[in-house]
């Protein structure tokens, strides 16, 4: 597939440039942690409540962190107009977006992996028995966040008030993904844990549909 090789190369570039400084990663991780701690001040979680609210808090925190941290995705290409250089390369324009979606997915997943043990400790949840299904839900949910966030980063970076516009555009659109991720995770935190096929299926469908729409219409976002 003519898409695969340039996407992989660009993905490598994205990952290398981030891991050089790791500033995005650290900032995201600290932000989500802070949000989780602050949430604990708004109510006093007992074990039972943690199972009820914990999933919602986790996904909300991820959503907010994502909406801030996905902005640089396209914004930093503006500094030296590197996007123009990328566009001139003999590759499908969609590879540029695809590589950024995958890169953002990696960043967010790394942040989540670092986050989970702390989340489990703070809210007294036992995550080890459900690690497999939880990983699946995290992957699907984070992919939704990354796809929509990256595409909207491309949109908002070409408008005014871009830092504020990205969360504003993203959050309503991601509402179904938030609901599905939260409900799927909540099911896993129950006793006994249950992997909801309908919610997981909805998440998967969400990812497939929006990745397809990005593939079909993404190139228009990279125009001059």
């Amino acid at each position: 597939m003519a898409l695969l090789r340039p996407t992989t190369i660009l993905l490598g570039k994205e990952l290398r440039s981030e891991f050089r400084t790791r500033e995005l990663l650290t900032t995201t991780w600290v932000f989500v942690l802070t949000v989780l701690v602050l949430f604990s001040f708004t109510f006093d979680p007992t074990q039972a409540e943690s199972r009820q609210f914990g999933s919602g808090l986790l996904w909300l925190a991820l959503l907010f962190a994502g909406s801030l941290m996905l902005h640089p995705s396209f914004a930093r290409e503006r500094v030296n107009d590197t996007l123009a250089a990328l566009r001139m390369a003999p590759i499908e324009p969609v590879s540029i977006i695809a590589s950024k979606i995958l890169a953002n997915l990696c960043f967010l997943l790394v942040a989540e992996i670092l986050l989970l043990p702390i989340f489990a400790v703070i809210y007294n949840l036992s995550l080890v028995p459900i690690l497999g299904p939880l990983a699946l839900v995290l992957l699907l949910g984070t992919l939704a966040l990354s796809t929509v966030g990256t595409v909207f980063s491309a949109i908002s970076s070409r408008a005014r008030m871009r830092e504020l516009l990205l969360p504003i555009l993203m959050l309503p659109l991601l509402a179904p993904a938030l609901i599905a991720s939260t409900e799927a995770t909540r099911g896993l935190l129950e006793d006994p844990p249950v992997l909801s096929l309908s919610w997981t299926g909805l998440l998967a469908a969400f990812d497939i549909i929006f990745l397809t729409v990005t593939w079909l219409f993404g190139e228009y976002l990279l125009e001059e």
Binding site: I155, S156, L165, P172, P176, I179, F210, V213, F217, Y220
Partner: protein, 246 residues
């Protein structure tokens, strides 16, 4: 009912006055249809057993949501057509339909609480239809917001078209996810569904027809406005190029 203003783009003359007259006639016709539908909803439809008179809000509350969907569908189609053809007329249609869709969902969000208050004693309930309407309302308000934040017309059209397409694909997800969520975490429901008396169904369809007519009327007016705005922008660019003060 209100008088329409000029609808043609020609300079002052008989054409403009005919355009204005035609619009006034259309507006009157639609207002009449709306009045007939309202009368039917108030007096012809049978009274519902459990909720009584207040249930008659249903005929416009639900049909406004349906009409809003139709408007957003128009935005979707127009967005795709714009990206394909780059003809600005599709962009004008897309933004007009989005704005009118927001107007219709505003009606849903206003009539919902007015209905909920006497029935449940609360102003707001996170029932499936109201929540979905709220999210969709937000979605397309964001679309309109994006448009105000991009100055260059062609870039604005392209970015909004992509956003319009994404928003349209989100609609079924919003609908189903909120519905499933509400079956698991029930809340007071505004106007439970259930089977519809055939007379109620006819009145419902009549109200929907009236609202669709309102939609078309508002859509055309808003489209003309967008078209004129485009013309003003062109003329201003021309005069700036000639070095005149705007």
């Amino acid at each position: 009912m209100e008088q329409g203003t000029a609808s043609a783009v020609e300079p002052t003359g008989p054409g403009q006055r005919t355009g204005a007259g035609l619009h006034a006639a259309e507006t009157l016709g639609v207002a009449l249809l709306l009045g007939v539908a309202g009368y039917a909803a108030m007096f012809i439809a049978p009274t519902e057993r459990t909720m009584g008179v207040i249930q008659r809000i249903f005929y416009f509350h639900v049909t406004s949501a349906w009409t809003g969907f139709v408007a957003f569908l128009i935005t979707f189609v127009a967005s795709i057509a714009y990206l394909r053809s780059r003809n600005p007329k599709w962009d004008w249609l897309a933004v007009s339909a989005a704005e009118i869709g927001v107007a219709f969902f505003t009606v849903v969000l206003i009539t919902g609480p007015i209905w909920a208050r006497p029935v449940w004693g609360i102003w707001w309930t996170w029932d499936a239809r109201l929540t979905t309407s709220f999210v969709l309302w937000l979605l397309y308000v964001c679309y309109l917001l994006l448009r105000t934040l991009v100055d260059e017309p062609e870039r604005r059209a392209v970015l909004s078209a992509v956003l319009g397409i994404f928003s349209a694909f989100d609609i079924p997800f919003v609908y189903f996810s909120i519905r499933w969520f509400r079956t698991q975490h029930p809340q007071p429901v505004i106007g439970a569904g259930g089977s519809l008396d055939p007379r109620m169904r006819s009145v419902m369809l009549l109200c929907w027809a009236a609202l669709l007519a309102v939609m078309v009327l508002l859509l055309r007016q808003r489209y003309r406005m967008e078209m004129l705005r485009h013309e003003v922008e062109d003329l201003q660019t021309d005069s700036a190029r000639r070095g005149e003060p705007a």
